[in-house]
């Protein structure tokens, strides 16, 4: 990936992360119902977290 494009991606991922971890979206998933044995709220936070890590991984490690 050309460095200019990667840099833009990083900014986009940061913005996405800020959005995922703030009020309206957090409230959307704010339920204690269990999904796979884990409350939805907890599942959401960890899934979003993993998503941000994965995207950062992709934008840094992808060669083309």
């Amino acid at each position: 990936m050309p460095s200019g494009v990667r840099n833009q991606w990083l900014v986009v991922i940061f913005a996405l992360g800020c959005l995922l971890f703030s009020f309206p979206l957090l409230a959307l998933f704010n339920h204690a119902d269990l999904l796979f044995g884990v409350p939805l709220s907890v599942l959401y936070v960890f899934a979003a977290w993993l998503l941000i890590i994965g995207l950062t991984f992709l934008s840094h490690e992808q060669r083309n």
Binding site: F14, F21, L26, W49, I53, E61
Partner: protein
Amino acid sequence: MIGGVMIAVALAYLGVLFAIAYYGDRRAACGRSIINNPYVYALSMGVYCTAWTYYGSVGRAAGSGLSFLPIYIGPTLIAVLWWFVLRKMVRISRINRITTIADFMASRYGKSTSLGGLVTVIAVIGIVPYISLQLDAVSASFMLLWRHPQATGVPAITPGGLDTALWVTLGMAAFAVLFGTRHLDVTEHHEGLVAAIAFESIVKLTAFLAVGFFVTFVLFEGPGDLFGQAQQEPALMQLLTFSDAMLDYGEWAWLTGLSMLAILFLPRQFQMAVLENMDEQHIRKASWLFPLYLLVINIFVLPIALAGLITFQGQPLDADLYVLGLPLMAGSELLALFVFIGGLSAATSMVIVDTVALSTMVSNDLMMPLLLQLRILRPGERGDYGGVLLAIRRVAIVAIMLMGYVYFRVTDTTASLVSIGLISFAAVAQFAPAFLGGIYWKGGTRAGALIGLIAGFLVWAYTLPLAALHSISGAPDAFLLNGPWGIAWLRPYNLFGLTGMDPVAHALFWSLFVNVAAYVGVSLFTQPTVLEQGQAARFVDVFDYASNSDAVFLWRGTATVEALRSLLERFLGAARTERLLDDYAHRRGMDWAATQQADAELVQHAERMLAGAMGAASARVAIASVVQEERLSMDEVLRILDETSQVRAYSRQLESRTQQLEQKSRELEAATKELRAANERLQELDRLKDDFISTVTHELRTPLTSIRAFSEILYDNPTIDVERRTRFLEIILKESERLTRLINQVLDLAKLESGAAEWSTTEVNMANLIGEAVTASSGMAAEKGVQISTQVENEPPLLVWADRDRIMQVMLNLLSNAVKFCPAEGGRVSVEAARQGQWLVVRVADNGQGITREDQKVIFDKFRQGGDPRRGRPQGTGLGLPISAQIIDHFGGKLWVESTPGEGATFVFTLPLPVDDKQ
């Protein structure tokens, strides 16, 4: 019961740390670094996870659910931007030989000793609560194990009069002194330290995952069971979600933002991420590996907290100790011991790195400048100051640890670990405006940074630690409730009447508000000094400078080499000074014996060397003491900066021009090569053409000569008899015909070769064509008494796409050749046509003398005819076969000859049949 074992294991663990550090240093000395890879780099950042994470997160989760998480989500988010921010910090620090975060700030704002000192004071005071947190956690976990099976978490005074926490404090201080001050120079990487910290990161992660797994899957039957039980209890259920009040979301956002700043500006993070960075490329891997580490270490926090709440219902065990309490309760003492070691590793890693960073700050940015400016140390005098630096650092470590202990004793011991740690976070957040402004905004001035920092720090101190001191017994006193002297708008938790925020968010808001306002406001109203402007440009535009070699020399002055040398010797030692100076001379091709006067570049170099040991601000003061400095005027500075930027622009232009030229020259080279090849081909063609012309003229001359000879005879002898005249005229006629044929064929060949021949391609039935050709040749054959037989497989019809007249030309040529070479008696020519796969194969065979192997090679060349010249030339032009070969080649086929001398010759040609021909 297991107390003795516990102490032995803890000491053994610390011994292992020493071994790893020793090994790391040894490897570094051999030039085979074990830390020069992104994985160790990312692990060493795990120093972020201290006893706070290890014990405190569970306590926080047990009290307020998910709000333990923003502390780890903030770093994850900022890690996405590390490639911009952290890389810039690393680059600046390497070029300027930065030793601490205080050094960084001082260096940016004109190597200001006052700013460096202020940052040091704030960092030390700000980190004290954080240290006390570690002491609290370690002593509490120690006591819990020591007193097992009596479960209680409150550390108590031991019979000797000294309490556990003090012992822990002294033990850790001794360890930090031994471990952290082994070397003097702080710009060289602490390879052993980093290796040990990376190891500790692995230990604490493994221990925490082990206890998490044990609790979730052994004590309970997996997360489903655990969360299911929690849902039965309304009190526990609350922990799994945010309350609907906006307070939760607001607090979440504040904590996320705060931890973003903390991960950048905590002295220990700055040490690991910036100063110990070996390669900027490592930031790439670290920016997803480190967040992954944080995620993994947090997976079991909530399960442990819930398990603790369910298991210890009604018992007086501090939630911060559930991590240790649960395995103890289950009777798994070995696991408990491992958990204790994990907690110890979390605490020691923080204490080691923070004390190294803080003690370096105290010695380089606070004490040294003071000692130099107060003339207590005089660089002009003899003496070794390296020892002084080390002594200052050791005293500083002990002092910082004792301050942590005092804070721990004085403040509310029932406060949770996280709430103590957040106070420190808010303190280091005060660095953010001046720091970030310093690397992105050239307009920030020293005065702005100083006043902003002081203002922010004072508000922080008033709203957080001071307030904490006033709630010692757990109940807020009048100072908190009514404000000082009853002034309500000065209440520390409700400054200016602001309500509805939790104390940390409240303090952070006000402190950063005044900090930013003062920094920006004062910066806009003050003039930066020359040095400040130079440093601002070097920091903000760091990526524009290729290396420190084209640093701007905003300095002019004189010094003797001798004075510089003795100054360096005093701080760095004679051997190192010698080595550094020799390196420098070697690179510049200088000779010290012949150099008396140091130029600006050497002075700057010496200052950087010195900065590596004592920080930029101190180095500035020390250098100033031996150098006669000339102050530059603002005009001169602007001119120098302008020139430098012009030179940079020129060199950039030159570089791109050079690249263009290189590109051009490569293209030229390729074109030349092509031209040369074309030229060679042309020369070859020219030679061929010359050959051709000489051959053609030779061939033309033969018939012309005989025509002319016989014409002359007829002309000169009008009385010649009729019979001879007729024979001569016959010869003239025949030779003229041959001449015409020759010229026609030459023209034909020229057309074919130049590609100018016209082709009219149609579907040709080969059986018909062969029949016609044989008929046309039959006259000539009969003349020579030659029999022609044909055998054509015309079922299905042999249809090819070709030019009928041209193929006919080929057939006639082959037939006439065959007839020509037949013996005078009993000549036979056979023509066969058959299909072979996708090919039509036509064979024309005679029973003549055959063609020798040598002749087979040349008969397809122009003007070459087979046969023995001594036996007379066969009739023909020598162009028939080359023309036929060209025609067959044009339609995608091949023409060749098969012959055994004495047994006749067979000419074979092939033509492709249409692929879809299925008839």
